[in-house]
Amino acid sequence: MNSSVIVFPGSNCDRDIAVALEKFKIKNKMVWHNETNLPKSDLVVLPGGFSYGDYLRTGCIAGKSKIINDVIKHAKKGGLLLGICNGFQILTEASLLPGILLRNKKLKFISKDVFIKVLNFKNSFCSNYKDKNIIKIPIAHNEGNFFANNNLLDRLEDKNLIAFKYCDIKGDINELSNPNGSSKNIAGIFNENKNILGMMPHPERSIDPFLSSEDGSLIFKSLLK
């Protein structure tokens, strides 16, 4: 499997995701935002970070960079596209995923381990979570409060496009287990074809036994199938 990680000025999880991809034997290339041609890739990753300093609106300026046209083409052809944290914000700004990520409800950056429930296994990203659907994973963001109007929320639910919801250790999805005020506790969503996944938590930070969790590994293992 071949992947490309897009590096924007201000990306800061680009190395982390590259390390994770390589750990799971996915052959990765780093692609600079100013390039116009995407190398041949099965998977494109928009990494976390503060592209363009998060200035104006998070993800907004990266959503207008040169390489994005090719990323859109890749996704339209059915290629896999994963946006993590800032990458998720870029996906919504580039209209590749619906909704938007607002500032956290308490207006503070939040960095901590949370639990999320995996809600959909029939896709390329999450099939390995079938036997473990409540996972521990870190979040670290200032704008992770997923907002969508009721129509969109209904559509996401009806079509089963919600990938993850914040929950507690037992899997209960409620206000207390919602760290940032997201509508319906949403932590990640798919597009209709389920080849695009946007998520706020960081799977690349939970891939080895020395870290607080290894549960992120299963995304990469699922991708390899």
Partner: protein, 80 residues
């Protein structure tokens, strides 16, 4: 009455956000744009009928909270 206040970074203070927005607009082909500065906009509702007193209060609020006069300027407009 309703008062609007606009808080911007002082001209001589670096505005990182404005700088990036300007550069992006240029990259998008808007070559005529020579500078962009970003600021904050506040709508303040005051229980007061006298515009002079209202403005005075707004001035105070701007000075004490809405702006840090070390690095920011503010402008006040009495709307209604």
């Amino acid at each position: 009455m309703k008062i609007s206040a606009i808080v911007t970074l002082k001209n001589e203070v670096l505005d990182p956000q404005g700088k990036v927005v300007k550069q992006t607009l240029k990259n998008m082909g808007y070559s005529n744009i020579s500078d962009v500065r970003q600021g904050k906009f506040f709508e303040i509702h005051i229980k007061e009928k006298d515009p002079i007193k209202g403005r005075k209060l707004a001035e105070q609020v701007c000075k004490k909270l809405l702006s840090n006069t070390v690095i920011e300027d503010y402008k006040i407009k009495v709307d209604e």
